[in-house]
């Protein structure tokens, strides 16, 4: 797909004139006609959905900045001013705040899709690595943005997260003071977080361009996971437009319907009531938890008794993703043809959900109410603390042990030679993950 030849022919005099000076129409036309594997299923539509999420966040964000005041005394009231007095302000603000959740929902599905179909494997390592960079940038942007309304959760969330950095030996404290611009989270912190929150989305947009560049250099993966042979090109691919513009478009509309349910009918369901209490540095809310999309990482942080080690584990859980392409020893990309690995993957998804659940609970709470088992080191075995530890262990083992080991031991199912001629044996037995197979109509 990388050596896709330009088929654009300038029609008018102006187009010919422009084409020799700024071949922008050629660029767009070539992009639109890129040969794309014809078997991409709906899990592949989340790339387009994410692009839309980024646009929505940037556009609504720019608008919100027109009314928001980044000042510790005025920020809370200015957000409410947007919600009450600014024309359509409630809608714009709720789109932006729920948009963050929608963005993360889409990115998690997008990442799990890449994981299931082996989209990180050669020759697509750079696409994956840039994706992890994007994920980190998104987390940073979301955290910075969550501080801006200057409610109780904003403030104390900022306190807790910035204090993580203080756990770094020797330099930690100086870095924290430097980040705060003072001796605690305060007005200077709010101002710089606002500035960075405005900056980072544009950095994200820049890295997205690299992500797409890498995608088109290496070519799209597909549910079968094979590289399309040159001679199969015409049978196995379709031009991106109109085939995938319409398919992505349809998926986007369904996604927008879900988005709209939150924005218009339950706009605060994904937030915390405490963030409607103006920030008070003297009182911490009874139960401080991050937004749902950060909960799994929060659970891993708390699973480790040592502060600095906890921070290392939390960042390590994401850092690990950078070397993922070299941890997987399997020759087969798509887990459709990896009968053992597939099940480890499903358990991984379940573990990620359960980590999120643990992150929302107090570590000392009992897992099964009313039963005390026995104490192991620092807590009862029947607690979210120990469940988090178990799950964290699986999370790391999945990448560090299961992936290299299963890749070497597993006998994959026969992989088709091309998309158009799938090997029948083994194909019919693919369960839930490969929903694309249901799509045998159209």
């Amino acid at each position: 797909m990388s050596e896709h030849e330009s088929t654009y022919v300038p029609k008018t005099g102006f187009e010919r004139w422009l084409d020799t000076r700024l071949p922008i129409i050629r660029f767009a036309a070539d992009y639109a006609t890129i040969p794309t594997p014809k078997n991409l299923n709906y899990w592949w539509t989340f790339g387009g959905i994410l692009a839309l999420c980024l646009v929505i966040q940037i556009v609504t964000g720019i608008v919100l900045v027109m009314h928001y005041t980044p000042n510790a005394d005025l920020a809370f009231a200015s957000v409410e001013h947007i919600m009450r007095d600014v024309r359509h302000g409630w809608m714009i603000r709720y789109i932006h705040s729920n948009g963050a959740s929608m963005f993360f929902l889409a990115v998690y599905i997008h990442m799990l899709r890449g994981l299931y179909y082996g989209s990180y494997k050669a020759p697509r390592e750079m696409i994956w690595i840039l994706g992890v960079v994007l994920f980190l940038l998104m987390m940073a942007t979301a955290f910075l943005g969550y501080v801006l309304p200057w409610g109780q959760m904003s403030f104390h969330g900022a306190v807790v997260i910035t204090n993580l950095i203080g756990s770094i030996p020797i330099v930690g404290e100086s870095i924290t003071t430097w980040l705060w611009g003072g001796f605690a989270v305060d007005n200077p912190t709010l101002n710089r977080f606002f500035s960075l929150h405005y900056l980072l989305p544009f950095v994200i947009a820049g890295v997205v361009v690299l992500h797409l560049w890498a995608l088109h250099a290496a070519g799209q993966n597909n549910p079968v996971g094979i590289l399309i042979p040159q001679e199969q090109r015409s049978r196995d691919t379709v031009p991106f437009h109109p085939y995938y513009t319409v398919k992505d478009g349809f998926a986007i509309i369904l996604f927008l319907m879900l988005f709209a349910v939150f924005v218009f009918f339950n706009p605060n369901a994904l937030g915390h009531a405490d963030n409607y209490i103006p920030a008070n540095p003297l009182v911490t809310p009874a139960h401080i938890v991050p937004e749902w999309y950060l909960l799994p990482f929060y659970a891993m942080l708390r699973a480790v008794p040592d502060k600095f080690m906890g921070v290392l584990v939390m960042f390590g859980s994401i850092g690990l993703l950078f070397v993922l392409p070299w941890l997987d020893t399997s020759k087969v990309r798509s887990m459709r043809y990896r009968p053992a690995m597939r099940w480890f993957f499903f358990i991984f998804v379940l573990v990620a959900f359960m980590l999120g659940w643990c992150g929302a609970k107090s570590p000392d709470d009992q897992l099964i109410h009313g039963i005390t088992t026995f104490r192991l080191f620092d807590g009862d075995l029947n607690s979210y603390l120990w469940l988090s530890r178990l799950l964290t262990l699986y999370y790391f083992s999945f990448f560090l042990i299961i992936m290299p080991w299963v890749g070497l031991r597993e006998t994959p199912l026969p992989v088709p030679e091309s998309i158009s001629s799938p090997v029948l044996s083994g194909h019919g037995s693919v369960p839930t993950g490969a929903v694309a197979d249901a799509e045998k109509k159209g």
Partner: protein, 180 residues
């Protein structure tokens, strides 16, 4: 958002009624994008709290004869001038043919309150604030580009095209006006 799916010439299909569905879907996409764009544009119009401050009341006893008080209304200056009989006289005697934007002085004040001239204090040229009492007609002189207004706030000389605007106002009592 606006991923247009119109493709009137799909290979192997005749560009007829069949393509109506693509056009309809494309139109819905454009319409949806436009509907989403509207709130993003309209939000820049004045917010409810700004509109709520759009009218103010003013106590005229604060102005002494021959002077003016400048108050802020909708972010702009409003001149409240207590004119002397000589100034009123001068304004009334000016023939309409001498005026660039002909208007009688009587039409620029409320009957029975001819001494009080209430004007939006921004030059009709490019919005500067004219200086009180300056210029050859005893009214105002705009320092930016030299427009000269008379004691009725009418343009007499310079680049400004129109007289100083009279805002909507009403007398609540003899000494109290509501502007806006």
């Amino acid at each position: 958002m606006a991923e247009t799916v119109v493709n009137p010439n799909l290979e192997g299909q005749e560009p007829t009624r069949r393509d109506f569905i693509h056009i309809a879907a494309g139109a819905a996409a454009v319409g949806g994008a436009a509907m989403f764009a509207w709130p993003l544009i309209d939000q820049m119009n004045p917010a409810a709290d700004t509109l709520a401050l759009a009218s103010i009341e003013f106590d005229l006893t604060k102005v002494t004869e021959g002077q003016q008080v400048t108050i802020k209304w909708r972010g702009k200056p409003v001149f409240v001038r207590y004119r002397t009989p000589a100034e009123i006289e001068a304004a009334r005697k000016t023939p309409l043919s001498d005026l660039k934007d002909p208007q009688k002085d009587e039409d620029r004040v409320k009957p029975g309150h001819e001494q009080f001239l209430i004007l939006v204090g921004t030059c009709t040229h490019l919005g500067c604030v004219p200086t009180f009492g300056a210029g050859e007609y005893g009214g105002w002189f705009c320092p930016c580009h030299g427009s000269v207004y008379d004691t009725s706030g009418r343009i007499r000389k310079g680049p400004a095209p129109k007289n100083l605007a009279v805002p909507d106002y009403a007398y609540l009592t003899d000494t109290r006006v509501k502007i806006g």
